[in-house]
Symmetry: C5
């Protein structure tokens, strides 16, 4: 069975967490950060790039662990921890994996996987292997949304210079995020049938009240129209759930909200975990 070779590799990729490049799995891993530099092998997917560039596929899947998992022997469940690492390690050249514990924070799942890759088939290959692990075999998928990252298309330097400056001037300054939230968003036909100018205006109104939360809530956007039953996957990280609640209330108060046909369903809230801590916890170890 694998020695946890992937652990260092995973940590190695955790870099500057900024807008457009939100990374998970950070808070719990401070002690391992010093192992980061020597391990940056050329064979590994470039976490920083995958989390900041356009054209990257994001895959969000949530799972419930079936009760029979806990009937496996302790040895089997211990092996599950190693297995999870092995599978992440096996695919590390093409995909990066972030893991979240959602049990107790919502009814739809026990855990969440966020997987990035520039090749959706590579992501599928990883998830197939995950589902073949002991834990994966005892997991039922609850939702699985697929999206692609793109360059900003509204609040750009050209179209909305002031707001673009606002977005890029402030940076996250709170303690490392402990929580992540995933909220799928689907818009109605009236939204999509607006002119580009109208939508730009709506997004500007949307953006203004969010600027103040750049310091304590990180965000990342994925485009899903046609790839899943949602138009967008919005992903957030924060250490301050009260601030996050206020941010989302401010987004409820702008006219764009009138065009939401899906906003959540499910809203997925989890604590950011290393794969090891996630699998250990779910395995009762």
């Amino acid at each position: 069975m694998s020695k946890f070779v992937t652990k260092r590799v995973l940590c190695a990729a955790i870099g500057a967490l900024m807008i457009g490049g939100v990374g998970a799995a950070s808070a719990q891993q401070a002690p391992m950060m010093d192992q980061k530099a020597p391990m940056a092998a050329p064979m590994m997917a470039d976490r920083a790039k995958l989390l900041t560039q356009p054209g990257v596929f994001g895959n969000f899947s949530i799972y419930k662990v079936r009760p029979d998992y806990m009937k496996l022997s302790a040895a089997e469940r211990k092996a599950a921890v190693a297995e999870a690492h092995m599978v992440i390690d096996k695919h590390k050249e093409k995909v990066i994996v972030d893991t979240y514990l959602t049990r107790g924070l919502g009814a739809s799942s026990d855990y969440l996987l966020r997987v990035h890759s520039t090749d959706m088939a590579a992501t599928q290959a990883f998830l197939l292997d995950w589902r073949a692990t002991r834990l994966g075999m005892h997991s039922d998928v609850g939702e699985n949304l697929v999206g692609i990252t793109k360059a900003l298309n509204y609040i750009t330097k050209d179209k909305s210079a002031d707001l673009n400056a606002g977005l890029t001037s402030a940076t996250y300054s709170d303690p490392a995020p402990r929580y992540a939230i995933v909220i799928p968003v689907k818009k109605d036909a009236a939204w999509w049938n607006m002119s580009d100018e109208q939508r730009l205006k709506e997004i500007e109104v949307h953006t203004v009240p969010t600027l103040q939360y750049l310091v304590n809530v990180k965000r990342k956007l994925y485009h899903s129209t046609g790839l899943a039953d949602t138009d967008f996957i919005t992903y957030f990280e924060t250490a301050d759930l009260g601030a996050f609640n206020n941010l989302l209330i401010s987004l409820a108060k702008v006219p764009e909200n009138k065009h939401h046909t899906r906003w959540g369903n499910p809203t997925v809230l989890g604590t950011i975990q290393t794969p090891e801590s996630l699998v250990k916890t779910l395995s009762g170890m």
Copy 2:
């Protein structure tokens, strides 16, 4: 196996039950109240504060017990009662737990947990441990909503002096509540896009007919936008379900009702129980 050390501790925290500080688990515990003072240890979460202050996280989760639970031996099920106490005791420094029996009063669940803490991760840690108990392992979660308490933001002394006085002048005078009701509330975009003044006016109209029920229905509010697929969790306690029905009809009759996109779904009605009585009942003991 634990002696029910937490029982006294739980009781110790049960204080004055007023608006903004509704506490459960009271009716059944009258004989134990005299143990309260000596047990108020500094290591314990302050129930009175957690139930009255803003910035506290409320976590509501409902469960169905799977049929195979009753196939455990009587000894195992008896141990489940102790386990529940142990787990509540283990987390008593950070979280307080209220328990409700919902079987027979609604189809969505057999029991309800209400957990308060100032740290959502501490709440999650408790719920993970609960799910690892015998009963928890045989429970399927049906809904799990998360919210945060805030200071009153509409009917304040400044904004609506008379109604604020009305809210604070009357107090609950009925026998100790035997029932609790949880009703999730989500509002439409038109509601959130009103000006603050419009919403204040709506809430004033909402508040007037509710004043008469202060004497027989306690209420508490949690804010959930972005944290769950609801905007609010409304929590009630009463000894008089007929009065409660009339209160909710009066709330149906105000214009605010036109902005509800979720009002219930599920409505959770349960009897207030000590953890011991809850687990015993569900364990067939």
Copy 3:
């Protein structure tokens, strides 16, 4: 194991079946009716009062029997019949129970329990015991709605004298009902925001076409706002399903129908059964 001591008791309570006092379990019990008078013990819940007075809680729960029930031995299933009687007998001082077989007449359930009591906790106590019987342990609850009876609040002598006279002048004259139908009703915010006068007018228009069906369809109303995800539970008994279909079509044709956000979902149709015949049938005996 109990001798079916409750059988006589149950029968004893079956009285005049009129509007506001619809009773079930009658058709099959004709031979036992002569046992009625001597058994009317003071310890028993007063069926006639519970079925006619305001302030009574009605609890409607529907169940599916899991397939593993039929894997119990014939002896075990035979014992289930006795158990059902014992449980009903145990609670007979506080609750009355009517039983209906719904399998084959709708997909949502195999059987329906209607329980009345002036104390909801007493109803819960009965249902907890029911769920602990062999049959109950192998039953999954599909819907469970709770309501309270009230005096007529629209078509009263004062407000609508003629229609009130119409309602009280005609009585059920068909053969004893064989079928019961339960239809939950929820109304929209526009309905509740009408003035009392407007709603009275709507209910008058609703009432006119229903008068002709007083002779062949019995009805009873429960109020549920805030107690369940419905505003009303409407309960009917009839021997003539064609007439009932016509009655409901006439109700579809009045403007009130425009305010229904729930009308059924599920519509529960069952045959009226004694507890014994119900449990025997579901037990394959």
Copy 4:
């Protein structure tokens, strides 16, 4: 175990298939038709009458076979074929049963039963017995809709003479139907609140484009308001699914379609089968 005594009986009842008297189970039974006349016993429900007269109850139920059914021994599953016949035979004096294989043609079911009787309790008695057979015990019901036949109430000789003539002049002339389709229909409050004249006009517009499909699609209508969560059950038989698709598109194009709140959900498409072929196929024989 029963010799398939019901087989001849079933066949005996298969008569002229016309509008208002659509019969199933025909295509596969051509070789057995010569047994029809001598078997027409007076004890048997009159198929022709039940399929053409008003006041007859139609009961449509769909089922999925649970995977554990195929774990029964081959002998047990073979016995299931005989059992199905026995049960149909047992009830043949009161109910007639048509059977359809839906697996592979829709996700909601594996098979469909259509049962007619003038007594709903007799239908329930049959379905209870069906559920007690080996196959029935391993079947989960997916939907179960109940309706009653009525005389035409819009396109009558009096109200709409020309269209009535059109409806009655053309008859089905295609090869015997191989497929049946069941589509539940529910109408909105605006539909029911129209005057009778308005609804007649709508139905006339609805009827015109359907006349051309009388030659290749048979239809039958059941009324369900109050008996199930649908207003109508529409039943079709055809040998030409392309023509049926065109017929339904023509019905989508008339204004009546604006009043559909349910049109399908599920749409049930199946091949017409004898009970023997149905049970054999589902039993893997």
Copy 5:
């Protein structure tokens, strides 16, 4: 157990993939293409015709593999691969089968089957046999939609000459598709109640922005009104999911989108697979 006799046969049918004749199972089969010509037996369904002609039935079914499948022995699961081939081979004279792996790319399924035939009963016969294989017996169907192909009915040479020329002038020029997407579409009554001219105009506006994606997204349309709870099944193949996302956004932006009552639910995204690779992967081999 069968030697994979069907493999060559399957490959033999893979022809030119163009609009109106999108074929799956191509990318993975390049090495086998040279076996194509000699194997084109007269007994086999003509893939090219079935994928291009009107009047062909398309059947789309998605499945989840139950966890107990992986508890079968490796030998049993290996046999499942052969079984799948045998079943496809058995029906090859009447039906063609395309297979897709959807696990990891959506929550609704693990795999997708697309089956074409000119006889729906032949398709059903194949799917019944599939469900009787080891894998099929351990699969739960999630959705199963049925449709029929038709000649273009809007953008024809006669009605819309320029757009028709646009549709036929450009051809797919990207690398062989690796992904397929199935999106069910249902339209509202307002859509169907438009005049033919209005709908033609809407479809023209719909078509213009799609022309540029002819080079990298293939499409095929099936008509389902009355045959399933959808009006259309839209099927796509692509190697470029980013382009596909842009195509679907462009379709969201035309007024036709206002008439969608179903657009997805589920959206099914999968990788194109041979039956062998599909079953091997799902069997953990």
